[in-house]
């Protein structure tokens, strides 16, 4: 019996909303899929597309980026800047053939513990259906072999 594929998902979240929401899910004892590795940043405005690329490079099958709802950013404007960045970055990924469905964005507030758990569960299942990110990971494997015959 083969093991089901367990996707590796990296979540870049802001401290004051989504991370707090994740915390709330924990203290409320709400179960959610263990596939996610959470990386806490002060604000989504700090999240550079480099982080997303790095996560993919290191073997993530999916990436989640989540922060405060527009208007509620702890630093007033960080998430507005992030939103613009993500709009542009998504179109770039899509144009180069990196599936947009693997990079997800959301707004989760500090009070939305249940939403966070549901989000993680949904995202995990969606990435599980997409399967491992073999296209990218194959590029990683080719690095190790001798090119040029």
């Amino acid at each position: 019996m083969s093991e089901p594929f367990e996707p590796k998902i990296v979540a870049f979240v802001c401290t004051y909303c989504t991370y707090a929401g994740a915390d709330l899910a924990g203290t409320s004892r709400i179960k959610y899929a263990p596939n996610v590795r959470i990386v806490r940043l002060p604000c989504t405005g700090r999240i550079s597309p480099m982080f997303i690329l790095k996560a993919l490079q290191k073997g993530a099958d999916g990436v989640l980026v989540s922060g405060c709802h527009p208007g509620d950013c702890h630093f007033a404007q960080g998430n507005y800047h992030a939103r613009r960045r993500w709009t542009v970055f998504r179109s770039l990924l899509s144009f180069t053939g990196i599936p947009e469905e693997r990079i997800k964005f959301s707004w989760v507030s500090a009070a939305e513990g249940a939403k966070f758990a549901e989000l993680i569960n949904d995202v995990t299942e969606q990435i599980r259906d997409l399967g491992p990110f073999e296209q990218y990971q194959e590029l990683q494997k080719v690095i190790e072999t001798q090119s040029s015959y």
């Binding site: 290191k58 690095i143 190790e144 001798q146």
Partner: protein
Amino acid sequence: MTRILLHDRLDDCLAAWRSSGFRVLAPTRRDDLTRFDEVRSAAEMALDIIMPERTIKDHFFLQTEPMIRYRIKKQEIDTEEMLPPEQKRLFFGVRPCDASGLAIDDQLFGWDYKDAYWFQRRENSVIVTIACTKADDFCMCTSVQLSPDSTKGSDVMLHPLKDGRGWQVVTLTDRGKSLVDGIASILQEGTAETAPTASVPVKFDVDKVASWLADPASFESHLWKEVSQRCIGCGSCTFLCPTCHCFDIQDEGDTYSGIRRKNWDSCSFAMFTMHTSGHNPRNTQSTRWRQRIMHKFNYYRGKFDVNSCSGCGRCTRQCPVDMGITETLQVISNLPR
């Protein structure tokens, strides 16, 4: 005994070579670029071009090459050498300039220690060169003491026949001889008139250039700034040069394991001589350009008695701002004595 290889027997040669374990690489046009790549039929070869945009160097000194795999354990670090595979390769349709680049670089990669990565590939490869019957405005092999039919670096030389049916085959080395003996049944005996080689006018006096460069007063000449004003400091000329060989060592990995790699580097890059202290002895493009010319026509010559240049002209052909070695050497060559 002279022999002839006809065009329409080339596929038979390919089949023979492949079945004896060679991978055959030839100039080919793929994905909007001409370069040496594996071919399985003569139809895939692009032999009518002046020269492929990328050089044959790419297959001996790889643009990025794994050297060692390392694993960091509690008490020690395990390393595993990653040498090139022992794969026989045949390079068909090489230009004399590209072949000479290999011979020129052999001296560097073998002078203080033998670079295993380079030589393992060299020892497993046979170079079959085709003499040039046409050249363009950028070719300058004749200016650097080479020629459109130079045999330097080649194992077999093919001279195009005047009637266009094929090539006259000349074996140059033992490796070449055993290759040609292996296809003896496919070749025809006899001679035929060969086409005249390309006419490549000499553009500068390389010996005069070398002696000007060797003069210490030339180092501070205002000429360097003047000729390099438009240089933007990209690596195109160095990376496309059959003889350029600078590299950078990079470790790629994570906390516990990774691969140490050898990557192409360029003296044109601003960061090339950047010290950890932040000091950069070559912090202007003109000093970097000076170094490039000095290295190729002064330092390398002094050490190895040969110009680090095969005269292919790619540096100028491909330069985004029409720089390249030729013009600088012409300017130096035309300086009043």
